[in-house]
Every structure is written in structure tokens, then in C-alpha cells.
Amino acid sequence: MAHFTKATSVKDWLNQRLAVEKLEKVMMSEYWIPKNINFLWAMGMVLVITFALLLVSGIFLLMYYQPNVNTAFDSVNYTIMREVDFGWLWRHVHGVAASVVFLIIYIHMFTGIYYGSYKKGREMIWISGMLLFVAFSAEAFSGYMLPWGQMSYWAGMVITNLFSGGSLHADGLVEWIRGDYVPAQAFLNRFFMLHVLLIPLAIMGLIGLHFGALRIPHVNNQDGEEIDFDAEAKKYLDGDKAGSKVMRFANDFMSKDMMVVGIYLIFFFYLVFYNYGFAMDPVNFDPADGLKTPAHIYPEWYFLWSYEILRPFSTNVGLIAFAFAQVIFVLLPFLDRSPNTVPANRRGLFAVWFWLMLVDMIVLTAMGKVPPSGMFSTIGFYAALTFIGLWIALPFITKMEKKV
């Protein structure tokens, strides 16, 4: 057993038992961050803040929401929106944050792709990040079921139907997932459980893993520079703050994080109060009706690109393409065969690949929402083929890349 002495202060008392000083160093003051990074590196903190907003608003909503097919809709639209003080505020914060969190996730992802932050020891950061993406997607989908409006019901119907596997006709699996032949009480109850317990637990665990995965390889930088963190940290601690290539996480980088968070929150609350419609689909303000299919069924914007990879093909091919799209991003560190960990603009063909991929995903997103007919259907089809083609081409173009 460790040797304990009479504490001289509260801090000392805590220090002997929890090593708070050491903890503070490891997590904050001697967690070294390169200086040559831009505001895109603050997206992690922006995501943490958005997740916190989701968690807090979710706790308040949970106190009034009723997971029952007969009362769910009115518990949201009447009780929370009209009766509960500031219930409308929590709901709009929750709804807008659920949508905006995906915008930030996509920015965060494309930042990682552009700067090669998934390579050379940073593979686990990428993989844990993609697992977080999957968990957030499941969280968003399960949450979307809860107001039990028309879009909840029909999106639930369509997405769970995917598990029948086309020609495999695994209808038993679909019924097992729903707990019924159609989305009904059992379905709502289990998605409620997933949304408020199981998936949030998984997300919090994965956030821990994602942060942990950063420790050993350190944060990447915008020039693809290999930094000797120990030597630079020593320089900093010896007083040459300006000459060192690294800085403390707190308060050095955190002050910049907070600056970006401040600007982000102006944007976020503008959306919450003045432009929330994009995050709260009007169709979902009609109560669920199993006898009335909406004219257009579409997922929220952040799922549209993968929905559009499913849609233009025949059922079986579409499902295979969809499954491909779901897993392929996870494999990025292994499909990129290039030895270079530098920004895409210095990687020749990969730069072309990057911008094509970004534009293609935006085209897929747009085509995923409009009705699948005529020209839109054709554009969607070729955009989906381009997506698959780009991934198949990736190992070859990166293999050819010259060492920089």
C-alpha cells in the first residue's frame, strides 16, 4: 500500500489519492499540440460541445417524453412544445444539434482525409472516429423514431425493411428487429431504449477510445511535418515558448478551441431560433399513420448520400452498394497505399481524388432528396458509380504516388 502523509492542503489530500497534478499535466498542461494547425483542428472541441448540448437538452426532454404510440406524438408536440416551460427551446436545441453535429462530423472527417491524419500510427484514431460516426448515425435514426410522426413511422418502415436483404427475404429478421410485423409499440419502446441508454453509452465509451487513440501518435499538423514532441516540449518548458514547435493543450490550444466554439455557437443559436426548419421536417408534424404513405419519403440530410447509393440500382445490387458505402470509409487507412503523410495538395492525384469525392458526396446528397425520376435518377446513378469507382481506384493511385 502506498504511503500517505497528513495532507497540507485540499489539493495535496487529493493529490495523494488521485494524483490530480499528474492528471492535470497528462490531460492539459503537458498534452502537447503542434503549433502549425488551423481552426479545423478545433472541430473536436466543437463536437464535444455539441454532444454536451445534445446530452443536456436530451435529459430535459426525457423528463416529459412518453414512449407510447398513443401519447408519444402529443407528449412532444403538445406537452413539451406548449405546456413545459422552455420545452420548445430544449426541443429545438436538441433537433438542431442533432443535425448540425453531422455537419461538423463531416467537416472533421474531410479534414482528416485531406491532411492524411489516418496514417502512420493514427489508424486507430480514424477507426474509432468512424465507429463514432456509426454510433451517431444509429443515435440519430433511433431518435428520429421517437416523435412518432409520419416520417418517423415511414423511415422506420423503410430502413428496417433493408434488413430483409432483398432476394434473401429475411423477413423473420425484420420482424425480430421490429418486434412486430410493422413498426408499433414494441418498436417504439426498443428504439427509445437504444436512443437514451445503449447508444449513448457506446458513444461515450467510443469518445474515450477516440481521445485515447490520440495520445501516442499525437495530433497531426497542417504541413505533414514530423515533430519530435519530446525535444520541442523541453524547449517550451525551458522558456522558449515562441521558438518551440508545440504548445500546451490547456490553456494554449484550448483558448483557440474556445474562440472557434464561440463563433460556432453564434451560428448554432442563430439556427435554433431563426432557421430550425431544415432540422425538423414538416412531414414529421403529422402523426404516424400506417394507412397513409407520405408522397416523398427521405431520410435526414446527413444520410442522403448513402441512401442515394442504395436507390438507383435494382434491389440486390443497391443493397450491396449500400453495404459497401457503410463500411468503406473505415478501411481508408489500409486502402491508402501512399507513404506520404502530407496534405492532399502535395499528393498529386490524391488531391484530385479528394475533391472529386467531396463533390460526388454532395451530388449524392442532393439527388438522395429529390424524387428519383428523369434526370435526377440518371445523375444519382452515375454519382453512385463514381463513388464506388473512386474507392476502387484509391489503392492504385496512392500506390503510384511518389515519396515527397
Binding site: K256, I263, A366
Partner: protein
Amino acid sequence: MKNKEPLILVIVVFFSLLTYYLVEPFAHSQMHKHFESEGFTYKDLPDLTKKGDAAKGQELVMGAAACVGCHSIEAAGMPAAMEPQAAAASYGVNPPDLSNAGAVYDAKFLADLIKNPAHALKVEHKFTPESGKMHPMVAFYGAGGDIDQEVADIVAYLQSIAVKQEELTPKMAFETACGRCHAVHYENWTQIGEKPKFKHEKDSLAFDIKVLEYEDSIKNYMGKLPPDLSIYIRSRGEHFIKTFVEDPQQYLKGTAMPRVGVNAEAAEKVIEYLEDSGDTKRHERESVGKNVMIYIVIFAIFALLWKKQVWRDLH
């Protein structure tokens, strides 16, 4: 090295806005029909050419035109002869009380309605000779004089007994124009009136049964139960509701919903009623929103100053 952050910001903002434009304004323009409002002017209906005389109109309404055979006029001391559910069983829908008709409906519309109900209401497709059905409101064929003068007199009478435009409340406008077909359960409104608080459950259930009977009649008359409008302001939005009410046929060819014929002022009141029901906290949202924005801007300024202070030593 030169600072790339402004360029990066421009790229991030550009692609975010592009995506937003494509999935919101663009996609919705492709998915939904869009009609512009005519401002509730009912251009297809003829203008009133005669000046009406309210006193003569009163004689007609009470006498030769036989309006009060079916309509109550509580403002003139004539209560309904039947309970709503009984009236709906006879006519398909409860004939409206005419007290505020003059304030809620457009004068041109009222005149055309009196002469040819199915035409003014744009439901002639439901009452073709082949269907063998007649519109439950009998057209006014004149009382022996100049029919246009007589119709103008009736309209003048209805306008004379109605509340003044500025006294028309959102609730009155909604009840007169929409409330006999549409329930709004968030406002406790049923098609037969606001549900009172009952002391005994038996009385409450008896009221519910009357509502159900009424709804059965409407279902029969309209083909389906007209939807509850509690949060239509969120599910459809102001523009859609206004242009739909102005002419339901342009969106839904063949729908059983009649053109309601409200005037522009009453339409605003109806929208306000729907906002009170489905977007109750809109005023609070604006005031809280302003305060939160001020707070966040101050927070951002402090964050910026803190960053500048910390980074002074780092360069």
C-alpha cells in the same frame, strides 16, 4: 508562412451552403407544387354591381330567401333549431351560423354562394347530374325582383349584423370558416364546439359520442374525416395553408374540401389561430432568441480576447 485560415473558412462555408441549398430550397422546389396567393380576391367571381340595402336583406333572409330554415343567426336572436350532430346527419355538415358570415367571407364570394353554392365552393365535381347528388344548400333563385339586387341586399344584411373587422378574433374567424369540419384538439376544439369541462365522466363521454356521431356524418359527406389542424402551421406552413384555403383544387384536383371564401383579413386571423395552436411560443422564441444571441456574441468576443492574450507569447 502565410495564413491559410481565411481561405479554408471560405471553402468550408461554401460547401456547407451549397449542400444546404441543394437539400432544402432546391429539393423542396422539385418536390412540391408552388402557387402564389391572389390575395383572396377571387378573380373568377363577378363583382357586385348593386348596392345592397340591409333592411331589405333582413326581410329576405327571414322570409322569401328562407335562409333561416337551415341557418341559425345567433346575433339576430335566432338559435340553432337542431344540435350539430343532428343537423350534420340531415345535411352532411352542420349549416353555419350566419352571425359573422359578413365579416369572415368575401362579399363577392357570398353573393355567388347564394346564387350557386357548388360553383362558389368549387365542388361542382361532387354534384354532377350523373352523381345524382345535390349540394345540401339550396340555391337562391330570386324573390320576384332583380335577383342581383336581392343578393346584394342579403350580403349587406349579413355584413350589418357581423362584428366589425377589427373585433373579429382569430377564434371567431377559425370557428366560422374551418371549425365545423376540422377539430383542433390542442385548443380543445371539436367540430361541434369547444369541449366544456364536465364534472362527471358520463357527461364527458356523452359529449364525445356526439362528436363521434358528427364525425360519422362528415366522413360520409366528405369521403374522409377532415384532418385535425392542431399543428398544421408546422406541418404545412403559412404559405401552403393560405394558398390551399384560397383554392384547394389547385393543389388537390377533385378534393372534397370546398373553397372557403374567406376574405384577406379573416385569412390572417385563421393563420393567427393556427399559430396560437401549433406555434404557441413564437413570441417567447423571438425574445429569448435575441437575448441568447447577445449573450453568445459577448462570449465569443471574450473567447477571442482570451485567445489573443494566450497566444501573444507563442509567436
